[in-house]
């Protein structure tokens, strides 16, 4: 069941990624882009660090850009976002917008 869901999600994900960013890195062949699988150790329902799965990609990408620049106040996300380029952030945003690990 899992695998079937993943295979179905691939075309949608690729299309969305293309719309959002001309050249996102990673996320090829339905694989999670670099860094994406680390996020769910903190981000989940019921936690102060709210879930990111299913949120719109532009919202996630903008948050990461603002953490990176320091425009958005943070405790750890400012330190983490600096480890990702804009293209990598866009790929992570597209992955979670499509449901992340639940896709």
């Amino acid at each position: 069941m899992r695998l079937a869901a993943r295979v179905r999600a691939v075309p949608a994900l690729s299309a969305l990624a293309l719309l959002l960013a001309p050249a996102p890195t990673g996320a090829t062949e339905g694989r999670p882009p670099p860094g994406a699988t680390s996020c769910t150790g903190c981000h989940a329902t019921g936690a102060a660090m709210q879930p990111i799965s299913g949120r719109p990609a532009p919202e996630i990408a903008a948050a990461l850009a603002e953490y990176r620049s320091g425009a958005r106040p943070a405790t750890v996300m400012n330190r983490i976002a600096k480890g990702f380029t804009e293209a990598e952030s866009q790929a992570i945003a597209a992955y979670f917008a499509q449901g992340g690990p639940e896709r």
């Binding site: 899992r2 330190r79 983490i80």
Partner: protein
Amino acid sequence: MSRRLVQTRRSLLGNAASAALALAGPGLARPALAGTAPRVVVIGGGFGGATAARALRQGGVDVTLVEASGTYVSCPFSNEVIVGLQPLSAQRFGYDNLTRTGLTRVQANATGVDPSGRRVTLADGTTLPYDRLVLSPGIDLRLDAVPGYGAEAVAAMPHAWKAGEQTALLARQLEAMPEGGTVVLSAPANPYRCPPGPYERASLIAHFLKTRKPRAKLILLDAKDTFSKQRLFQSAWAALYPDQLEYVPLASGGQVTAVEPAAMTVRTDFSEYKADVACIIPPQRAGRIAAIAGAADRSGWCPIDPVTFESKLVPGIHVIGDAAIAGAMPKSAFSANAQAKVCAQAVIDLLAGRAPEEPKLINTCYSLVAPGYGISIAGVFHPVNGLLADVEGAGGISPVDAPASVREQEAVYAADWYRTITREVFG
């Protein structure tokens, strides 16, 4: 023996197995066992192994998880248990939900690995064939490293560095300690499990003494001069525990050279300390099965490829979590969980005959220096020259001059992280 196990596997997997076999068919290669889905054996059911087993299962792989214990006892937050801020029951996690993903759980000790025949041997002689093996064995304590600190000494001077009975023992000893007593806590040289852990433990014991036994004192003996989140810990100690906590770094004679459990003495090059409670955190190495498999080098830890977590010593075996030499990435539960997901994807890729992508991994470690006072260290890591290195410009510790509101917020995040990650791993 192995036939019985195969039957067990079938009965446990049932329809899920058939479905997975059907789905996994075209995409995944079957190098070792014609006519079956690729098999991955995972040894170790902690934050690394349980995460890897789940992620592999979600990728349609036939997974067998070998773990000797039926219950996992979590080390993160066990320092809170030691000082009565959290019950030990909050550290215990079962494997029922993980088993429901359709993996096969074998509750046994793995005693042998045959890398050329790609088989794991269990204590009862059963063998488990694998296409790829994931080792997440955690640590073994080196009970030959500190003179006097052998297997019998841990009952008098608990390490409490593997959570469980040792955690409860240290909690009881602290509770029973006389007013005005002395606690001696020793931290080992690098590398070891949970770099900030000894200092969080020192902080929370100091908090316990301050609130419960204000005339008592804690001496923290350290086999090194620098440590994780040092400025944050030391400024908090100066503010909160000036009368409770004395820190003795290596340069001031902090290295423990011997202990005498019967006399409750802890010796260093410069002094001898008489303890009412002594917690000795000894040097460590990768869990024993890593050395049995040939995946540990002379340091006792396991060199790995930073893209796939495959052993640099034994092909077909991947090592994740505390046992691995992961470069700049610390030995933490967060790291083990992040590594497990990257490793699982790499194993799925390799079984399918495609090249794994270069990963990035995140680590975040929270420590409590007092209830409602949290601090953190974070990092982002990527492969550089065969090791996991820090992504430059990212990561670091909480601000040293942050207001109390930030410390409170980080304490909340620490508790929420624990709930979230244990639910992701075991839930």
